[in-house]
């Protein structure tokens, strides 16, 4: 039995558009163990990105509970400063987020970006260069993000995430802007590292092949966990 990293119970979120209330996520329940991976699939607008935002505290749910590493976040109670601070601590030290692109600070070199993220998380930045090397971009350490390719930028983003030794990685279409070959390489690196360092991974994607690499699948279009 895998120890639970994340537990989601009865999670709901809706948006208001004009006079209309649009439900995005309704009564969602699932759990994720340490070292496990979960693919979020579903058509555009089905709530994949919204769910990722909820799972790292960037948005607040309308109902339900999120338990992350023993910390309980319940909807409905006032969005207190303490709750926001607790989420911020988790994001800084435990949750690594990878977006489709623009994961790097453009004014910092790749190496400075990795160091920056590690130091923010309170980790030793001395390994930053190693991380870049492990991701095959060690020779690009002094380049700026706009001086490398999209695939290299995503590798650097992964280096940043792993340098902070996260418990959970939230990846939102991490290969969405890459060509097939590069996407496959980046995906392979992501899964390898996730398995080696036993961190949880929740991956939002349209790519069925990518989704198939995860241990669990959550189709938000049909609200079912497989």
């Amino acid at each position: 039995m895998t120890e639970s990293l994340l537990a989601v119970r009865g999670l709901s979120k809706h948006f208001v558009s004009g006079n209309e209330t649009v439900p995005v996520i309704e009564k969602l329940t699932f759990t994720l163990g340490q070292g496990q991976s979960l693919a979020l699939v579903g058509r555009s607008g089905s709530g994949k990105s919204t769910l990722l935002n909820l799972l790292c505290g960037l948005e607040s749910p309308d109902a339900g509970t999120i338990v992350m590493q023993g910390q309980v976040f319940e909807a409905g109670s006032a969005a207190t400063r303490e709750k926001a601070a607790a989420w911020a601590d988790l994001r800084r030290q435990q949750i690594g987020v990878v977006f489709q692109e623009a994961n790097l600070m453009p004014a910092l070199t790749l190496l400075e970006n990795v160091r920056f993220r590690a130091q923010l998380a309170g980790r030793d930045p001395a390994n930053s260069e190693d991380w870049l090397t492990r991701l095959d971009i060690g020779e690009l350490a002094q380049r700026y993000p706009d001086q490398v390719s999209g695939g290299q930028r995503q590798r650097a983003a992964l280096a940043m995430v792993f340098s902070m030794e996260p418990a959970l990685i939230l990846a939102d279409e991490p290969t969405g802007s890459l060509d097939r070959q590069t996407a496959a390489e980046v995906t392979q690196v992501l899964f390898d590292l996730q398995a080696r360092y036993r961190c949880g991974l929740i991956l939002a994607t349209h790519d069925a092949e990518l989704a198939a690499g995860c241990q669990q699948l959550l189709d938000l279009g049909h609200m079912s966990a497989v």
Binding site: L58, A88, R91, F99, E101, A102, M105, A107, E112, R117
Partner: protein, 765 residues
């Protein structure tokens, strides 16, 4: 703006302009910002320009009105009567009666007879063509009935003493103090301010326009892919900006004139009050010139790149070469300003220094920020410095405009404050006593000296001295260099004069002057002859050359003639005085007792007397108003520059906001990110204020020590005002806080937007 937008539906057959303008339909605020900037820039420059031309015209008129004229007086010193006017006209002398009446209830009024002024010709226009329907000029009969009157008979400059019948002679006639070159100097500086305002507004216009262009780049690329040539796009852009300029410049000029009229009204009233004549010139320039100037500025500022494209290609320089060229321009400007032999060269030098500064400032901020980033161990500090470098590069134009505006405000503030101070001292020098009483022709001034000396003993508050004015020549071993100088002789050397500030002096100069052991000279003479305290001046008095030790040099505030201040005891008996007068502060004795006593002593019915305190009050009013206007205009320029930076900062941040939100994603709180934003914005505006400081001080130095002496031959004292630096620094920080507050609003928007390649711009380093 609506006019431009309304063009859209009517352009079906013109797909290119329709496509170009469609950007503004999607982003109307951008068009509004550009239009507003053109209107405000036009308003500001037109306001300054209009005000300057109004002030110049007003001061020209005032100078004419108070300039010395000739009057006919009786040899026996008695008051003129109507019979005198009749007898003079009968022998063919052109005279115009000027009846001054000061009613118990109010201001002085002047009665004149326009019919009698015809023989003056053009010269009569000074007063003769004023409508006689209100104060201060009224018909003679009205003035005569208003109270006790004093009649003057003015005569044209062409009249000679020999034209007059026996028992009359000519004398100068003046109605107030001569503002002279002090006013001209101030106006020259005001015009320099106008040029700077034009430069700043051009920079701001360019920054807003280029921002709009950057955001339309995708549309241009698409048009290019559809087969539209860049030349076609450029031609439509030229038409677009000309149309926009035409729509916005005209109301801008109107607003500028309205602004100048609103502010300048007070100036006019103050002038009227000072000289008792409706002097305010009212409307300055017409509409055509400002409209054409601003149209040109808008087109050049916005499309200068297109016009100079080939030139730029030929001149394309690498970044290090650009830096070297900027440094060379900057240094060349500094040296040229120091050595320039004439005004045009000084202006070229100022242009070079500003061009160099405009180029160097962003480089300096970027270089400093990158250096600090390299030095910083803390990751956040390193990131912040790198972001500062990006901001400095992206916001170059509005930042440079803000720097120029700050430097200009700093220089103008120092200049205006120095002018105010100088003007106070100028008034103090010329109106040192409460009253100025002329010695009537034929009267014995020595009787008055004895009388005043006697009364001073029993009235300790009384101060007075006798003033004898005339002229003599300087002597030099080389006869060719002889030249005329004015003599300003005083006795006794009273406390009315010993408070004068001296530019340079020996020890105890006033005591030595009182002991008749030397003279003082004015700044003009000192500069012209390269003389100073301790040197010897050779004067020709009574046909003999006398060596006189120079005890000190006093400021003359623009008086173009060399002048020697001496003890009247040094004058020979046969010295021909041009005028004699007494400067008197009567103390407890009261001016009435003094005038009654002097009238009795000299056997005259009236005295020519000037109430210096009233003149001082009015003159101060005029200049206070002008100084206040100048300050208001410079502050408006600063506000415009700050608004532009605010707007540009906000727009730029819109494209950069993602990276700040990334900090939130990485676990920083909104408050912490807002704190970083604040530090970033403060570093930017604070840094610009720091860089503006030396430029402002240098500009002050140029205005005071280079432009003024070259234009007028005299120099204001150079003063700096650190308290004002602090105020300006605080203002810059306030601008930074405003930018940070605007940026923070963007951070507060709903969480993290979904990012796609097309949605992200501003990702440069």
């Amino acid at each position: 703006m609506k006019v431009l937008m309304s063009l859209l539906p009517s352009l079906p057959a013109l797909p290119i302009p329709r496509a170009l303008l469609s950007h503004y339909r999607r982003h109307p605020l951008q068009l509004l910002a550009l239009a507003t900037m053109i209107v405000l820039a036009t308003m500001l420059w037109t306001g300054v320009n209009h005000l300057t031309s109004q002030a110049r015209a007003s001061l020209d008129q005032s100078e004419q009105a108070v300039a010395e004229r000739q009057q006919v007086v009786r040899d026996d010193g008695q008051a003129l009567m109507v019979e005198d006017f009749v007898s003079l006209r009968l022998v063919g002398v052109c005279v115009m009666p000027w009846l001054e009446v000061t009613p118990a209830s109010g201001n002085r009024i002047i009665g004149i007879d326009p019919l009698a002024a015809h023989c003056f010709g053009a010269g009569a226009a000074r007063g003769g063509d004023q409508p006689l329907d209100g104060k201060p000029f009224v018909d003679m009969s009205t003035a005569a009935s208003a109270g006790e009157a004093h009649l003057y008979l003015l005569t044209p400059d062409s009249t000679q003493d020999s034209d007059l019948p026996a028992a009359y002679h000519l004398k100068t006639f003046a109605t107030g103090p001569e503002t002279g070159e002090l006013g001209d100097s101030f106006l020259l500086n005001l015009e320099a301010l106008g040029v700077l305002v034009l430069l700043i507004t051009a920079l701001l216009l360019r920054s807003v326009y280029l921002l709009g262009l950057a955001q339309r780049r995708d549309s241009f690329a698409l048009l290019h892919r559809f087969g539209v040539s860049p030349g076609q796009v450029q031609r439509w852009l030229v038409l677009e900006i000309i149309a926009l300029a035409l729509i916005c410049v005209v109301p801008g000029v109107g607003l500028g004139r309205w602004l100048a009229a609103g502010l300048g009204g007070g100036f006019g009233q103050a002038l009227d009050g000072l000289f008792d004549i409706p002097l305010y010139a009212g409307q300055g320039q017409g509409w055509i010139t400002p409209v054409l100037v601003m149209l040109t500025v808008v087109v050049i500022a916005c499309l200068g790149d297109l016009l100079l494209l080939r030139f730029r290609e030929r001149l394309s320089l690498s970044v290090p070469n650009q830096g070297r060229l900027a440094t060379a321009l900057f240094l060349a400007g500094l040296v040229m300003a120091w050595l320039a032999p004439s005004l045009p060269w000084v202006f070229v030098a100022v242009a070079l220094v500003f061009a160099g500064a405009a180029w160097l400032t962003p480089t300096a901020v970027t270089g400093f920020a990158n250096w600090r980033a390299g030095q910083s161990k803390a990751p956040l500090a390193r990131w912040r410095y790198r972001e500062l470098a990006v901001l400095a590069r992206r916001l170059t134009l509005p930042l440079v405009a803000l720097q120029f505006a700050l430097a200009m405000v700093l220089a103008i503030q120092a200049l205006v404050t120095t002018f105010e101070d100088t003007f106070d001292r100028w008034l103090g020098q010329r109106l040192e006593a409460a009253y100025y009483i002329e010695v009537p022709a034929g009267a014995d001034s020595r009787k008055a000296v004895d009388w005043l000396t006697g009364h001073q003993a029993s009235n300790p508050g009384m101060q007075w001295h006798q003033v004898i004015r005339g002229s003599t020549r300087m002597a030099d071993k080389a006869a060719a260099s002889r030249q005329q100088v004015d003599v300003y002789a005083l006795a006794p050397i009273s406390t009315l004069i010993t408070g004068w500030g001296l530019l340079e002096a020996e020890d105890h100069p006033w005591e030595t002057l009182a002991g008749n052991k030397g003279v003082m000279i004015n700044e003009q003479l000192a500069r012209r002859q390269t003389l100073g305290a301790g040197d010897t001046l050779q004067l020709v008095l009574d046909g003999q050359t006398r060596d006189m030790r120079i005890l000190g040099v006093y400021p003359d505030y623009g008086r173009p003639v060399g002048e020697v201040l001496m003890n009247a005891e040094a004058l020979p008996e046969n010295f021909i005085a041009r005028s004699e007068s007494f400067s008197i502060t009567p103390g407890e004795l009261g001016i009435t007792s003094v005038t009654d006593g002097l009238k009795r002593l000299w056997g005259v019915e009236t005295l020519s007397m000037r109430d210096n305190s009233t003149i001082r009050e009015l003159a101060t009013g005029v200049f206070d108003q002008t100084f206040a206007l100048t300050r208001a205009m410079t502050v408006l320029t600063l506000i415009l520059a700050a608004s532009a930076l605010l707007m540009m900062g906000w727009v730029f941040f819109t494209t950069r906001a993602w990276y700040f939100r990334l900090l939130v994603v990485w676990g920083m709180s909104q408050r912490q990110v807002a704190g970083q934003l604040l530090r970033l914005a403060l570093a930017l505006t604070g840094g610009i204020a720091l860089l503006a400081l030396p430029l402002g001080i240098w500009l002050t130095w140029v205005l005071v020590h280079r432009i003024n002496p070259l234009a007028f031959g005299w120099s204001l004292p150079m003063a700096v005002y650190p308290t004002f630096w602090l105020e300006l620094g605080a203002l810059s920080l306030a601008i930074g806080v405003s930018i940070a507050a605007l940026m923070r609003r963007q951070l507060g928007k709903p969480s993290v937007a979904r990012v796609s390649a097309s949605a992200l711009t501003g990702g440069e380093r």
